[in-house]
Every structure is written in C-alpha cells, then in structure tokens.
Symmetry: C2
Subunit: 277 residues, 2 copies
DNA sequence: TTGACAAATGACTAATTGGTCATTAGTATA
DNA sequence: TATACTAATGACCAATTAGTCATTTGTCAA
C-alpha cells in the first residue's frame, strides 16, 4: 500500500516531465529506488498504474468541486467560491491537470478515454446543479447552455496556470468570471445547448456506482487507517450500505467525519450520491 | 513531393486512430505501400514528419480564420461569420483538431510545444484584431479579456464536434455564441486579463517571419504548380520580396490570385503580414 | 538456531523501435 | 545496347520496451 503511493508519486513526476508513453517502467523504478519486480508486485501492468493515477487525481478534483458547490452557505458567494476553488485546484495541481485534463483528446486507449470522460461528466453535473441552485426554475431553458459557457471560461483561463508561472490573483479572477456568468445568465436569449443535446452528450458513458465497488472503496480506506473516529465512521458507513438502519442525518454526519482526509474525499463524494443526500 | 503528401495523409489516419507515439514508422510505410527506406527519403526522421504535419494543419486553420476576420464586408455579420468559419473547420477536420489543438499531451517535446503555441498565438491575434474592428476604442480596457472569453466558447463548444457525431447546426451555434459575445462586450465591467498580462502570455514564443523562410515557402508553392496565373503570381510576389517595386494594391491583387489554392492559404496569410496589408 | 514464508531482486526474454545501407529496379540519354 | 543516374528496397542493427521468474534477502515465531 505504501509502495503503491511511492510509485504513483514518482511516476507522476516523470509523466509531467516527459509525458505518458515516453516514460518507461525502468525509469519509474529507478527513481523510486526499487527493482522492476517490485513494481510488478504493486501493479499488474503499466496500464494499471496509469488507470490508478487518473482515478486518483480526477477523484480529488471532482470531489473538491462538488464539495464547494454543495456546501456554500451564502448563495450570493456561490459562483465566486466555485471559481476560486477550481482555480486554486489548477494552481496547486497544474501539472496533473495538464496531463490528465488535456490528454483526453489524443489518448488512443478507449478505456482511458471513457474513464476521463466519465469524470468530466461528473464535473459537468456538479456545475449544472450549481446553476440550478443559483438561478432556479427561472432559467430552465438556458441552463445547459450556461454550463457550457462556464466550462469554456474555466478552460480558457486555466491556461494561465497551466503554462505560465504568473502571479495570478485567484480571487480577482473568480469575481471577474462570476460577473461574466451572471451577465450571461441575465441576458442570454438564444441558447444553443438544449436539454436533449445535453442528454445525448452526457449519457453514453454514464457510470453507475455499484454496491460492491463502494464497499471495496471503503475497505481500502479502512485498511489505510489506524483506530480513530474516522476509521470507525468508515466501518459504520460500510455497515449502512449492507443494511441502512441509521437516519440520513446521522449518515451525513459520519460522512462529514471523514471528509477532511485527503484519501476519503472521493469516498465522501460517492457516498453522498449513493445515499442521495 | 507527391510521396510526402501520401505519407502525411496515411500517417494522419494512423495518428488519429492510435495516437502519436503509439504509431510506428513501420505501420506508416505499410499503409502507404512503400518501403521503410522510401519513408526516410521523404523525411529525415519521424519527428520531421510530425513537425510537417503540425505545420500543415495549423496553417490551414489559422489562415482560414484570419481570412474571414479580414474579409467580411458587413461588420454586423463579422462575429457570426467568425464562429461559423471556425466551427465548420472543426466539423471538417475534427480529427486533426483533436490531435493538434490539444497541444499539451505532447509536452515531452519542447520544440513541438513551441510550434503549436506559436500558432495558438497567431489565432489569438486574429481574434484580437476582430474584437478591435468590432468594438473599436470603446472597449480598450476589456478587449483582451473578451478574447479569452471567445477562446473559451470555442474550446467548450468545439467538444461537440470532436467527440460526438452529432447533427450540429453550425449557423445556430454561431449566432448563439455571437449573442453571448455581444452581451459580454456590452455589460462587462470587471475584466481580468489586462494588456500587460496579455503581452506576457503572448510574447515569449513570438515568431518572426524571416525573408529567407518566406522565399523558401514561395519556392515550394511554385514548384508544385504548372504554368498558370497562380504560378506567375507567386513568381512576381517572390520578386517583390527581394525588391518591392509594385504598389500595395497590386501586391494585394497578386495575393488574391493564389488565395483559393489550398496549399497557398498559409502563404497568403504570411504575405499579408509581411507586406503589412 | 532453525525453518517457513513473504518481499524483493535483476538477469533474462521476446518483441518492437527508429534508423542505415549495400543492393536492386527503373528510366532516360547517348 | 550500353551507360549513368536516381528511386526504391528490405535485411539488418543497436537500443529499448513491457513483462517474467528463478533466486536471494529479510523477518518472523518456535
């Protein structure tokens, strides 16, 4: 378990230096200071490593956004907080963003594409639920289009973080984009993305969370922890999956208990979806 | 010359199927029905092939946009025509767009990055000049920001062409985005991208067109043509580079003569910049 | 100290890579 | 037909790749 993490970290460095296919298992093991055989004890193939890494990074990203969107108290600040969170993430993880968000297009591997795409869809859904929260039923017919605009802003301005080490003021950027978003929401009359179109785009790669997968996920988290409130929360949550006896409020509380752990962000996100909180 | 084209075409197919590094010279030559040696008669290395392909496709793209931006008669239609042109291009060349516009999967090669980046900058400058044409001095302080919004729209909505074979109505999309752009232009008060920031982002990779390179380019075009008005125009234009004796109007006309040839689009674009027309 | 088991090694394989070059095929001129 | 030339070939090379497995090392309890 420890070793897996080491490999992923070092591999990540190499990927961001040289790119995907250009990095050999040899190089990874050298930088880790382990043997080739040891690598294959942790990962069955090189592909498995790549898949794990994408999961890891995308999960962090998606979960972070969703957290902000769901938890902002003041509706007035929601947009600004959303943009702030997203660009702070870009600033912090610009390398992984560069590798995983952009590589989408040219990955030969169909499985890989599907994976990245499914996370992209989750992100889109988070944004959509934010737009609904913000503008309610007022903007039923333009909300899908607005989501695409927001995604466009994010893509375009994130370039500033990805390729240049500029001293960007995230707060100013966020409030500038929030203004733009509001202006569009209030003035747009001619949307292009309709509900139907949005559904077509989102549907084909839709991903369900199976009970088994979720349990597996929890087991992983549990194993990595010593006796603690967080660990116990996880154990309780796992029991709730098999048979839900506690109230939603209590379950929500248990999830809150684990949310602050880096490795549990994703689990928390999935649990919220699963229990429909 | 003929063979170069064949190789580039077939290689392009393979790249869009399997990706970049995953395609071997072997595979390319097999699909072309030529030997390995023959490949290395046309290109010194595999990298040279990649560079040529990027040049070829990006040149088409950039030149097309610039042409539209410069030549629309009715200022009212400018925005719509711009978007229409760009998305028609995406629709037609979705594969190359997918491969080459998504730059940074290829971070491995610094030279490659610089190349793609320089084209990106040219595109940005075309958009900027459009914005200036559209809104004049009125929007001095938000024009750079507006350019980033436009780029964002393009990126976000181009996704529809890249990954899904949807029956998109380009005209509707264009007018929808034109509306958004105008709304932003008229209501935005809080721009983020200032002139200084824009200059920092654009400057480091600035690319100059050397006289020699331009002559080389013309020679290439001339060689590929039989006796014709177009060919003679090119010859005359080459003379004008060495010693400019004709008026700007005449030179403009000569450029118009060659513009319709696919292989001369780029040359026309460069010539216009060179003679400051 | 011994024995049992898991963790880790790195030499090895088989396949593939980009690139070379002595050789051959094809063509045009004399 | 003979000569001179270029275009094209594909066997070959050294380097590198992902992945394997017989062997060694480390770590326990008895």
């Amino acid at each position: 378990m420890m070793k897996k993490q080491l490999i992923m970290e070092k591999a990540f460095e190499l990927f961001s230096e040289q790119g995907f296919e250009a990095t050999s298992v040899q190089q990874i093991t050298e930088r880790c200071g382990i043997s080739k055989g040891a690598f294959y004890l942790s990962f069955k193939t090189k592909d498995e490593l790549i898949f794990s890494m994408i999961d890891h990074h995308m999960q962090q990203f998606v979960a972070d956004i969703d957290l902000v969107v769901r938890n902002v108290v003041n509706k007035q600040d929601l947009l600004v907080e959303f943009y702030k969170s997203i660009f702070k993430n870009f600033k912090k993880h610009s390398k992984s963003a560069r590798i995983f968000m952009k590589e989408q297009g040219l990955t030969a591997n169909k499985e890989l594409f599907k994976k990245v795409n499914s996370y992209e869809i989750m992100m889109t859904q988070s944004i959509l639920s934010m737009v609904e929260e913000l503008y309610g039923v007022k903007l039923q017919d333009i909300k899908y289009d607005l989501v695409y605009c927001i995604k466009g802003f994010v893509r375009s301005y994130s370039e500033l973080f990805m390729f240049y080490d500029l001293p960007i003021h995230v707060d100013e950027l966020a409030s500038s984009l929030a203004e733009k978003t509001n202006i569009l929401a209030q003035n747009m009359t001619n949307p292009f993305i309709t509900k139907e179109l949005a559904q077509i785009v989102e549907s084909p790669f839709d991903q369900e969370i199976s009970t088994d997968k979720l349990k597996e996920l929890l087991d992983q988290n549990i194993q990595g922890l010593e006796e603690s409130i967080e660990r116990e929360s996880l154990v309780l949550l796992k029991e709730q999956i098999e048979q839900q006896t506690l109230s939603k409020t209590i379950i929500k509380g248990l999830i809150e208990n684990i949310r602050h752990l880096t490795d549990c962000k994703w689990t928390a996100y999935v649990l919220i979806k699963y229990f429909e909180l």
